[in-house]
Amino acid sequence: MFGKYDLNEEIREEDIEIKIGGRGKIKRYYRKAGNEEIEKIVSAESGNLYVVPVEPVNLPKLGVAEHLMIELEKPYIIEPYIEDTFYLKFPIEIGVFLVDKRDVERIDIFTMAKQKYILYGSPEQGIICRWWKSNIYNDKPEVNKTQEGIIRIDIKNSYREWVEVKKLVFRAFDMKIFYNDYAYMHAYINLLKKTMAETAFNSRKPKNMNASIDIYEAKGIKKFEKKFVMEWGL
């Protein structure tokens, strides 16, 4: 379902239906996802429609959260000073963009994944995160492509003791999402203490994948590589 489309197109996958088309410049955009429907009128001579996975923090309302927390089904314990790699699932939101040579405009965002939020830290100092729960997988797991993506985790224990991890928190601003027929991210976790870690993303495009449209860059916000510090527990 993800990809670049002309402005006369019909896309269907599972419970999702996206249509854009019409005569002349005036086009009708229609989207149905589950029971939710939306319709917009687009005036365009050229350009394309992109349907891509985006950072999962836009729904039900933009501004509620800027972080994603993935809670692990079972706690993960790692030996001092070793590195490991595993995979998790993360929720996706699907963004629909109009793109021409000059500009990128987000016209719709929807999700088929369950939406739930959680507080990370204390009410005074903590942050609201989009919540998701995932098992740990040794290899890339099978995912429901309209609801979930795969995130590769390269984890490193830089602390002198064994560390137990129950959750990982990522900043949406740092995310770099890629896609072919499913969404994919690659994150780094550096465990600094028993209760503190840094999370960051690899922005290098994997082979045979496309970079998704970044909602922050689409808004004209310049991104620079940063790390998020999980300081309220792992």
Binding site: P60, V64, Y117, I118, G121, P123, I128
Partner: protein, 274 residues
Amino acid sequence: MNITAEISKVLNHEIMKGVTLLDIFIFIVIIAVAVIIAKIVRLNVRRALKEKVPKTTLATIEKLVYYTIIVIGFIVAIPYIGFSLSGLLVAGGIAGIVIGLATQTVISNLISGLFLLAEKPIKIGDGVSIGDVGGVVKDIRVLSTTIRTWDGIYVRLPNEKVFTSNIYNYNAHAARRFEYKVGIAYKSDADKAIKIIEELFEQHPLILKEPKPQIFVEELADSSVVLIIRIWAPSSEWYGVKTEMLWKIKVALEKAGIEIPFPQIVVWKGEEKG
């Protein structure tokens, strides 16, 4: 008569010592140009940064840019009306005492405003109660703070009042809690009611997973078993969640056959023996 010479004579006429009408005219023009430039720059800064920085930061940047340009204009213009900056600083010391006494309230508001900006107990866009005024903070200026009350009224509070009042900021923390009390009939199963409410909350995205909602029997009251329901929601969204959920709880409980009773009294009628 030569008109040019006449205009020149008028313009060069000394009003005060060393200050001509032309100097005052130049002073006014410089200040006016500075104000115009400041407004244009502020507008462009607003347009350029509107979607890139938070509202509160944008307001501060706008003010900083605006007043910096005005102050620069003022520094450039002031020698034209016979003041030198060094003279101003000396005179400022004496004048400061006099003006300070005469404008105690203004100074008090100004100092309070500076403390408010430094301490930041409130930000633009926060929902607050300050003294007896409740609403959304629209602006924090040097002398006053403006609030749009919950019912849409514009209120200007002097900063001194804001600084010395109790401030309740509903958005200062990431999450906040609210609660409902729901009475169910004595014949209904409280455990079942709690489970139904928990399942309902699990479906709502903005009822936080952690801290977990708390639901428990608080009181065995006259007409009902009273359940306390405590919910945590993001501070920016709590009111919407609060207005939405009570009715949904009622509908969900009734759908499951759990009765929410009216106040009732059981009357026993005695009969005389024999």
